[in-house]
Symmetry: D2
Subunit: 391 residues, 4 copies
């Protein structure tokens, strides 16, 4: 079973991660990981941080001659900003000279985190709760993603909505997706490449233009934006996950993975919320025969039936709330003085939906890979690939 | 840590469950569990099964003199229908006389399950994938729910939509909820009691009438309905869950629990998908002072910030797809003959959203309880309650 | 991954267990399980309980037509003694009429359990801590054992020592073992069958006679005995377990499983403690060539190198302390009165080492099976067996 | 729950570790960790590596102003030898110039590891299976150890045997231990300090002299030694662990932790194997009254009854096999040529029992801490210490 832990504060020395349980003999390169780190840093509407930190990963263990060794893979991403924070984030000083942050920002972990851990300085919360942590998740999960790709499973994503901007015409979206998702295992890959060409990872040019103009407008107003993105997985064999026990359900595991991304507040599989309003006869994907083999004409279930992959493309959609750090301050209460004040501003993005879509692609990779390994088993790429080969 | 396993086929002898990790000295009674089993069986639109099986639980272990013993609690719910299935579900016959089911129903586990496990008889899948399993989940989780109640945490739910019927006016819904959710720990309990009075667990009478008429109409058409329900939790202390590692995030865990209910295809925390389309200034819940203590005027975050409980009422919404077994058949492929046929009908509900809302209440109880126990620890009710007392 | 939970008090209604994660299509019969339950109840030196409870299992789910269905398997073993305990173990009475047990027995869970859970009646501890629970562990694990057997992996055991009685001459023991363990996958099975013929599960007739006479003598003296038994596993493929992370080490997992049996206080792999006193050149198993393939002349490592199976027979040894309930009382302190008193006697065995050896065989089955499934994967017997076939 | 992962090859860039689940506000310093790393590197009989690598740790996250932040703690220990291995352990070269190791050493992971992962170069196995990995385990676990110490729980160890050298007279050993273990929570700490004064961590001067002379002799002969060490834990509250489910048993978890140390082949709790040969009346620890409170005169159970801590000092003993790398070669088979050859020599220790005893102290810290946190709960040191205070 693949598992991982991340560590690292936003303004600490570095982000660190360990990925455990990878089979031996899988391809692993710094370039591949860095490519996905780069993708995570793109997107119109990002703040100053993205310019400071062009993330690159260092592999400290678990890889030799370009291949995984079966042993745990440790990654480090240096925080280039660290040099400006050595005092405020000092490991061993007594911190008495450092100003405490005591005003929690609405929408952030600040308040609940301080209460939970008994902190009188919100910096302790802010620095770990920050979405900067996702850089390491993307890095670790990229190794798993490559493993999946080499077993014919591809993950991609695109942005549906940034605020109210986006393709309102769902039919048009579906058509565009279909163009890329031609039932080839590579569908998700092709789609992601297409989305990568857009500054907001949108497939539709007019929607893109609206989104960018919306971001510009909102930025000027000192406000922020969220949105909706879609993750798709192609090449998934039938029967990953299981219905037999609640915690083995693939959709449940995928939902946890996606919801565990900072700022994500909603997840649906296929046309989840839309289907809830329709009749059964409009929703369930009838079986068909295509050249003698079993097929479907529709995929409203988003590739998951009975909490298992059903052989169709897996489709997940996630709702991201607007960035919680606003230039235009919100009302807050100073925890030290118990007085009503204005919330602090800490350098931030205006919109990070494109980045979140890349993170979404990443975090589901271990879920898919574990279900895949449960079915095919094996300690090495050679062993696994032989078993999982599909035609 | 509380954990549990369920077992049992829909037409087997019985459903069985074991709940492990419950502190000692917590109240536990058959009546309390049966009440929630009864709630799960209500709702306009249920099929014949609900009349056959008025579920009652038997406690086989872990409870003495009305209190938990710290040891695992085993529950059994007999399947009253079992006597008609002894041959078809025989433990030890060779099954050669039993007709195989070979036509998978769209929207069900049938197809993917058969491929996964290599079955030539879909009965093996149908019987475990059935939502009948949720009866045991409700039973086990009710014990946890009672433990939470005795620690001041209450869970409730109501139905927002059945198909297109429901309160379109979100403002009105919120107002009604506010009526019941007056910042008392009992809010969720009061709300659930109100919802229980309705045949479709709706808080609004006119919406209820529309929903019932919709179900009638759809039933006549041989079709089915899904819907949207809302789970709320009141009395939750600040700081359950954590932002420090992806798998300890409360929202991720809640999403998994809710998505793991049969037929659920979408989950959101607070106004998840709606907030994604708004500006940050419209979404984040500003802090306020109420009698000198920290408060919020709004709860758009649904009680979760930074993946922790923030002291407000937790609000989750779930999208349920329409029942997948339709009287009016869909196209299917017979796996034995590889011919296009009509899907089988197996006795089923037309709409089960009200039941699903009760299941939703149940499955999140262990998630909340584990986060609660992580914070307060303890092996017995006495030990725990002393620590967790709030004013 | 295979996992399981047991439930049930010693004088409650029943023992209950759920086994989760079994592949589909594996053989499973009540007779096979009952046979191992019967083996667990044998042995010279058992108390009256063994005559009351001739354990038989009922399968409530997860098995159809003699094969596992992939879904969880629930087992129940009725406690025949329950009818005499309905009042004392009542689910819902207030217990006010029932006499509390307040004198903890040395060597038992009584004292620590009461302090931990805040009980004023030790019955709550006694009844769950009792080794009766192992009946359910044997039952559940027998299903896994059968799965292993059908994949060519066999588990057996025999008793080395009962108190001081036993084969002192280790060389002789090894020779006897070698007789049965002729490098065939069936070695462990053959050995267990031979041990089953003995009332104390010893392979040597003169040792057996000494052991039985020792038990007789000790029983008369109101005292009790422990001993040492050996578990062996044959047919294990090379490379189960792993060295890459501490919690994936096969020997660590095996040690936990064996140490988790009531009254077990020591575990060794191969000649663990003996080897610690020798030189490296006397301990490590040199490689050899046998008909061109890699072999070993010795197996002092007990089949485990680098925390992985190395293809040789796995040998584990466990030390069982003497039964802690003595007819001849020990000093104890009444928790209610805080006075020094004599410990209570509750019906018990004089020696249960033979039973423990059968339990030992059982509890390691899921450990081996999980390592096996990690290597071969698969959801059904057909899928797995094809992959794991060895020549 | 505290959990951790280690990563790093013996000749790779660095060892890396992440410790997750530590409460906030616990003391954590580089000096404290380095002290235990230093202790791990001591001991007469170590090889050249110990001189090359004077391990020091770098904390990359999770600690601020000398206190834990609740967030994961990442540690790095540089491998000073790495510069000599950049080619042989290259991340991205194709490795075609690097000589493959094909001769597995008896007693090592080499053979089984190569078969498991499908390697044709044993270097991939050797480098991760190496006991060098334990440096990181000691580092991570030291943070947990400090947390325990600040909650009044101390862990220590000493060496009982190196080969045949050691105190044969168990009575004398026990007396010496008693001198240090005067029922104070500090007992284990005091004992460890005393042992630290000895080059072989033995408490008895004459035994120490014998051990050192034995090591000298054996080294000259090109052979190696193992031995037996004892870990003790003082200040443990009553009722850690539980009897209610097999995997929650404290002794089982401790056994796994200790057995998971490289080269450990046996574990016992208290006088495990010795007690197996005695009568119950000689083994079980009678209760007594000391100044009106419950006490014991003996501690043969090693502080664990019913798989829970019983308030007495916890005593674990571990058997370590002789170092598997011998200067005097053993027979091996070249996996490339399938010819019988002599085993390779790779720089190694002659005896590492003293080091192993320090590792033993370390690896059980998270087991104790998790049982402790289950009982007392809490997110911060302040919260926890208040609850767990004992008199």
């Amino acid at each position: 079973m693949i598992r991982y832990l991340t560590a690292g504060e936003s303004h600490g020395k570095a982000l660190v991660g360990i990925l455990e349980g990878m089979p031996a003999g899988a391809e692993c390169s710094v370039d591949y990981i860095n490519h996905h780190l780069w993708r995570r840093q793109q997107g119109y509407g990002r703040g100053g941080r993205m310019k400071i930190e062009s993330d690159t990963v260092e592999i400290l263990s678990g890889v030799r001659f370009g291949k995984t060794m079966g042993s745990p893979i440790a990654l480090v991403i240096q925080n280039k900003d660290w040099e400006n924070w050595t005092e405020r984030m000092s490991l061993d000083s007594d911190g008495s000279e450092v100003e405490k942050i005591t005003i929690p920002r609405p929408g952030h972990a600040d308040f609940a985190g301080a209460v939970k851990y008994g902190f009188d300085d919100l910096r302790n919360v802010i620095d770990r709760a920050s979405a900067r942590e996702t850089a390491m998740r993307v890095a670790l999960c990229s190794i798993v993603r490559k493993f999946l790709e080499n077993n014919g499973i591809f993950i991609g994503s695109h942005v549906l909505r940034i605020g109210t901007a986006g393709m309102k015409n769902r039919v048009k979206v579906d058509k565009m997706i279909k163009t890329f998702c031609h039932r080839s295992p590579l569908a998700a890959y092709t789609l992601a490449q297409e989305a990568d060409k857009s500054d907001v990872r949108m497939l539709d040019k007019s929607a893109e233009a609206m989104a960018i103009s919306e971001i510009k407008k909102v930025k000027k107003a000192g406000d922020t934006l969220g949105g909706i993105f879609e993750i798709i997985v192609s090449g998934v064999p039938i029967g990953l996950g299981s219905y037999v026990q609640y915690d083995r359900k693939l959709d449940g595991q995928l939902a946890q993975a996606v919801m565990s991304i900072q700022a994500i507040k909603g997840v649906e599989v296929g046309d989840g919320f839309e289907n809830a309003l329709k009749f059964g006869s409009q929703v369930h994907d009838e079986f068909a025969l295509a050249n003698g083999s079993i097929a479907r004409k529709t995929n409203r279930a988003g590739g998951v039936e009975g909490s298992m992959s059903n052989g169709e493309i897996i489709v997940l959609r996630a709702a991201m709330k607007p960035i919680a750090t606003l230039a235009k301050p919100l009302k807050a209460v100073d925890l030290a003085t118990k007085k009503l004040v204005e919330s602090r501003y800490e350098r931030s993005d205006v919109c990070a939906v494109p980045a979140a879509s890349v993170i979404g692609e990443s975090v589901i990779a271990p879920v898919i890979a574990n279900a895949f390994l449960e079915k095919y088993g094996g300690d090495s790429m050679a062993e696994i690939s032989k078993r999982s080969k599909r035609n």
